[in-house]
């Protein structure tokens, strides 16, 4: 069975749980702590030299890392990837936007505020990250004012990717009241078949 090495509250790990559940693919979750006893241990780096979760073990000894690449792997040939070439590239555009212009701000602010504490001396950096997080949310609001989902008319990996940290952005003290298009999109994402919440345990069918 597929193993998902994960930290449950991580949005990057949640992306993978959500897609696997929506695809009906069973998996086993292996909770993995950050730091030198977990992702930074020599044992874990032998699985994934990038030393991060999520990491999936597809079959014994075969590993794949980077949340959005994992999503791609499992979604190939399914309706989660658009069949139109430009829409497919547009989907990837928003997935790269998420990793470069959204996650380092929205997710890191949440991680510091809600989970690990702001590292000493990083208070000003936190403010900068919140400011850049709002810039990413502004871009999302603009797009969602024009179309229902990021790649076009249909729910795709781009929506899973951007939903993961945006819907819990308030845990990083982002005020989402000012983003009506984003909040309406939350409802469209949550209305998809077999939706799973970030706090939901790994489904028993998938254990």
């Amino acid at each position: 069975m597929i193993k998902l090495y994960q930290f449950h509250p991580s949005g990057n790990c949640y992306k993978v749980r959500l897609l696997l559940h929506q695809l009906g693919i069973p998996f086993e979750a292996v909770e993995t702590e950050m730091g030198t006893k977990g992702t930074r241990s020599l044992e874990f780096k032998a699985k994934n030299p990038i030393a991060k979760v999520p990491t999936v073990e597809l079959e014994p000894g075969v590993f794949l890392a980077e949340s959005n690449a994992i999503l791609w792997y499992f979604a190939e040939g399914t309706p989660f990837i658009p069949t139109d070439k430009l829409e497919r590239a547009r989907m990837l555009q928003w997935m790269f936007f998420e990793q470069y212009s959204h996650e380092p701000y929205v997710a890191v602010a949440r991680a510091w505020i809600a989970f690990f504490g702001t590292p000493p001396g990083k208070e000003r950096e936190l403010e900068e990250r919140i400011q850049k997080g709002y810039a990413a949310l502004d871009v999302m609001e603009g797009e969602l004012s024009k179309r229902p989902f990021f790649a076009g008319e249909r729910y795709s990996l781009a929506d899973i990717t951007l939903y993961a940290y945006t819907h819990v952005a308030e845990e990083g003290r982002f005020d989402l009241a000012r983003y009506p298009a984003i909040r309406a999109w939350f409802e469209r994402v949550q209305a998809q078949p077999r939706h799973l919440r970030i706090t939901d345990a790994v489904p028993s069918a998938a254990r």
Copy 2:
């Protein structure tokens, strides 16, 4: 003709020039400055709300952004994307690694040191970025000690992506002497048919 909005010394823009040249796809380059007169102008944001270069105009009014998504768009169905499903996902893994764990450190250090100056008060942040850049180079060295290219036996988009800023990392004062596997890979990348250097002008055949 395809238009590439770009800043010529940017590695992200170079990726697109290199692939288009290797594919023999003609394009016109439109130099675009950063900041409120360029990428942050309302006019440019109407093309790309993420407000960054590279941005390509595929046909009049149809834009695509994010360097690695642009590479994907043009490379679909070509030998630059592996036909094996796992190798394809592995290629994407390294492309997401590049945007999350490499570019913000290796490219930003170079941009500050070689082009724009380190922003006031960011001297300590620069040191942190250099440290994390070395961590990314360490990961690359480990991979390239095991296989000739990032996705496996063949040159792919992952190599274009990671070559772009790594081969000019010394402009960000990274010492590459300690990375023999990376330097040997530089030679393999440079030996590919129709290689283009970052300093090369847009090829006249492509003007």
